[in-house]
């Protein structure tokens, strides 16, 4: 299989406008004849579905929550990037493009990332027009803050709830199309399979999560905007229901899955407190604008803090090691996430960690509170501080916060070309579900940007290029054998899960899987560990299929069945992540192989041998998948070692 990314010819800055000028479009009368399925109504899916509806297509949209407003995007805190250069600090489209490529450790496509930077400004215009209440200055204009990996302030924000406000904007646009009859919304519906007819995606099979009914839906094209797979780690900052299942079913039907081992461990999360913990909470990266990260310089002090004999606030200035400022003077506390996370792990592994478990570092606001006053800090981060206090029972205005890295985002995902089309014709992927744009590490505030770019400004064009020659394809009735077969497969799968009738809960297996993935495919990986974990995962999966217990009925609402369906796919994904991490014998971005590092402990890339996208093809249950390589060519950017010093 030769992977064709379909990157338009011509100079970088003209590719997207040239594409749009020459692509095929569908006329208004024909749009009415075409149906598009959008699975997932987070930022990417809601913005796409609303925009398709506005253009005149018939849209069916699906989500597993009771309302599109609750998608995981709602939880994004810090902000969204755009190259507006309102602060006049030297930002340009090119600089945003450059920072994103560099931040991704030179493992993403130039053309895609340039387009992303190019449409970023329109996103902010669109959201303001929708009534998104971004933070403003006293002069009435929009305010910006900085995020990691950038030397300019280009991040727009709505207090610590940017994702919420952006999603509510997109949800409003979606609601307007629902009212107009252009979008039909299916909530509490889980996609269980993609249906292919003559090699093209023509619909999906869903399970109604209230009645348990297995149902088919036809579409001339299908868009997956189902989010990321961080929950393979069990404990993550993702919403409890975030899953890989929709993407995974597509993978099993022939869509390639790219760079699964590129996952982002976010440096600033509230540390794990106990074995009953169900989820981890992010403390937004924006806090690194005003907070300073440190651990004690002396091991004795660290030990005393762990044992509760000493408080962080009692450690004298000279006895503190602001290790990010020490190691990376140019970017300091605002180094990219992968760098900050590894540095925290390094200090904790070396015995300088704080907190009861020793797996925590301080994030301290003392200096900014002294400089700006408590009120200014409250205005910027009030809700985050409150959240922290509710969870930990500590007041971060008085004592430094404690944080530790946690899995947060997945750069890998379904392989897509420049048009966001997967290797299955008519199947598109958007938002965190696809692999595009962020390479081996995502910069802060760029996932919201990418999700909305895909949904508002990319797919509404590229999907027409596909649909233009589909106008004569009649709607395929869902009693077509392909739909019936897919429904039977789904029912058989559900019955198989239910009939195991073992002794252990789904969570029991998921927690063990999470430990394997964190220990072997987490912040530091090596050949031996990766090889061994594949066997462990397979054994655990076999155990799951022998001993999982799903109470209740398959008809009607069954939360354990929902979880089991997702965890069954996580086992297989975890194995694929290990294969991918093994195959990539270099360190880059979030993928750190301990065998490949510089003497200072920085990631060491191998551009001569690994400057490609690894796209994996499914080869059957427990079979080793096959890798296909899409070479990455850098025509406009000089590829360098990433340096934040």
């Amino acid at each position: 299989m030769v992977l064709d990314a379909k990157i338009p010819k011509g100079p970088l800055a003209e590719k997207w406008s040239k594409y749009k000028a020459s692509q095929n479009l569908v006329n208004p009368a024909n749009k009415r004849k075409l149906d598009i399925i959008v699975v997932g109504t987070g930022l990417a899916g809601a913005s796409a579905a609303a925009s398709f509806g506005e253009l005149g297509f018939n849209v069916k949209a699906f989500c597993y929550q009771d309302s599109p407003r609750r998608a995981h995007s709602i939880a994004a805190q810090g902000g969204i990037n755009a190259a507006k250069n309102y602060p006049n600090d030297g930002d340009t489209v090119y600089r945003l493009f450059y920072d994103t490529i560099k931040g991704g450790d030179y493992r993403s496509r130039e053309a895609n990332v340039y387009r992303l930077a190019e449409v970023s400004n329109s996103i902010i215009d669109q959201c303001v027009a929708q009534g998104v209440p971004f933070a403003r200055e006293y002069g009435g204009l929009l305010d910006n803050r900085s995020f990691g990996g950038a030397l300019v302030s280009r991040t727009f924000y709505a207090r610590g709830q940017t994702g919420q406000q952006l999603l509510l904007g997109a949800y409003g646009a979606l609601n307007r199309q629902i009212k107009a009859g252009k979008v039909k919304m299916y909530t509490r519906s889980e996609m269980m399979d993609v249906v292919l007819v003559d090699g093209r995606a023509r619909g999906i099979v869903t399970r109604n999560m209230v009645t348990g009914a297995v149902e088919s839906h036809f579409g001339h094209a299908v868009v997956l905007a189902t989010g990321g797979y961080g929950n393979v780690f069990f404990l993550s900052t993702n919403a409890m229901g975030s899953n890989v299942s929709a993407a995974w079913k597509a993978y099993k039907r022939g869509a390639l899955f790219a760079n699964p081992c590129y996952v982002q461990i976010h440096p600033t999360c509230i540390p794990v407190h106990g074995e009953f913990q169900s989820k981890l909470t992010l403390m937004s990266e924006s806090l690194r604008n005003d907070g300073r990260i440190w651990v004690p310089k002396k091991k004795e002090d660290a030990a005393a803090i762990r044992e509760g004999r000493l408080k962080g606030s009692e450690i004298k200035e000279d006895d503190r090691d602001y290790y990010l400022e020490r190691r990376y003077p140019a970017f300091g506390n605002l180094v990219p996430r992968d760098v900050a996370s590894r540095a925290a792990k390094e200090r904790c592994d070396a015995g300088f960690g704080v907190g009861k478990t020793g797996l925590a570092v301080f994030l301290d606001f003392k200096d900014s509170i002294n400089r700006l006053g408590e009120d200014a800090i409250r205005a910027r981060y009030g809700n985050l501080f409150q959240m922290y206090e509710k969870i930990t029972d500590h007041n971060p205005y008085k004592t430094p916060m404690m944080i530790y890295p946690a899995i947060h985002y997945t750069m890998g995902g379904i392989w897509v070309d420049y048009e966001l089309q997967t290797t299955i014709k008519g199947l598109f992927a958007a938002g965190e579900a696809n692999f595009s744009d962020h390479g081996a590490n995502r910069l802060g505030a760029s996932a919201l940007m990418q999700g909305l770019a895909d949904g508002y400004f990319v797919l509404p064009y590229t999907i027409q290029n596909y649909l233009a020659d589909q106008i004569n394809v009649p709607r395929i009735p869902t009693d077509h054998p392909a739909f019936k077969q897919a429904e039977e497969d789904v029912k058989a799968f559900i019955n198989r899960l239910k009939s195991v009738n073992g002794k252990q809960s789904v969570d029991h297996f998921h927690k063990i899987l999470g430990h394997y993935v964190w220990d072997f495919i987490g912040m530091a990986r090596d050949k031996q560990g990766l090889e061994s974990v594949i066997g462990k995962i397979r054994a655990l999966k076999a155990e799951f299929w022998k001993d999982v217990r799903i109470p209740g009925e398959v008809k009607g609402l069954n939360t354990e069945l929902e979880k089991a369906n997702r965890v069954a796919d996580f086992f297989e994904l975890a194995e694929l992540m290990a294969h991918d991490a093994l195959e990539r014998e270099e360190s880059c971005g979030g993928h750190f192989r301990t065998e490949f590092q510089t003497p200072e402990g920085e990631a060491k890339r191998d551009d001569a041998n690994f400057m490609y996208v690894a796209a994996w093809e499914y080869k059957g249950d427990n079979q080793t998948p096959q890798v296909h390589k899409e070479p990455l060519n850098y025509e406009y950017i000089e590829v360098k070692a990433r340096n934040y010093k």
Binding site: Q65, K84, L141, F276, P460
Partner: protein
Amino acid sequence: MANINVKLKIWRQKNEKDAGKFDVYDLKGVSTDSSFLEMMDVLNEQIIQGGGEPVAFDHDCREGICGACSMFINGRAHGPDTAVTTCQLHMRSFSDGETITVEPWRSSGFPVIKDLMVDRAAFDQILQEGGFVSINTGGVPDANAIPIPKDDADASFDAATCIGCGACVATCKNGSAMLFVSAKVSQLALLPQGRVEASRRAKAMVAKMDELGFGSCTNTGACEVECPKEISIANIARLNREFLGANIKS
């Protein structure tokens, strides 16, 4: 941190038609550092191990922002702590040996689906009537073209933080959705972009709310007290102004 033992009196209801009843469970050794929902996970694990069916409840983000979680705990929406959702409530708010009563939202606008899970689709339906600015993707002015006074933007933001959880309705003795509706109406009415359709929006959303069987507002103020996002009832006054304006014009 400490460990406590609690007795849980939980509403169990198979489906919308089932009459439902309370079941009582003993749970031992609950860490006070765990959240209420983590405690529910432990209970469910215990139920599954014992061969029973776990308690169904809505939840997703578990950090107070998605609005999914919705439990009526000891007679209060989202439990005894203030300005938190159920998922942000921690077991340190309870004492050793306490009996904790857990019920679903009870309101004719929110039928029970199963156990503690209710159907809040009515909220979506209300917003579909006008909880947006009627513009399409593309062709909008530059984001800084219209300066907005910071105070207006901040007030709009405060109203926009509503998470659509429904605690206001569950708390209100009339089952009114006025706080929820007024939050969206205010957010948009305070911004020039949303001002254009403000009256029409208010009228359409209130009409839908009435049609869906939510009660009328008698200014008890209970909603404001239980709202996890501290949405102010000043928004209801603003809604009333927009609504009156709409009726005068039409």
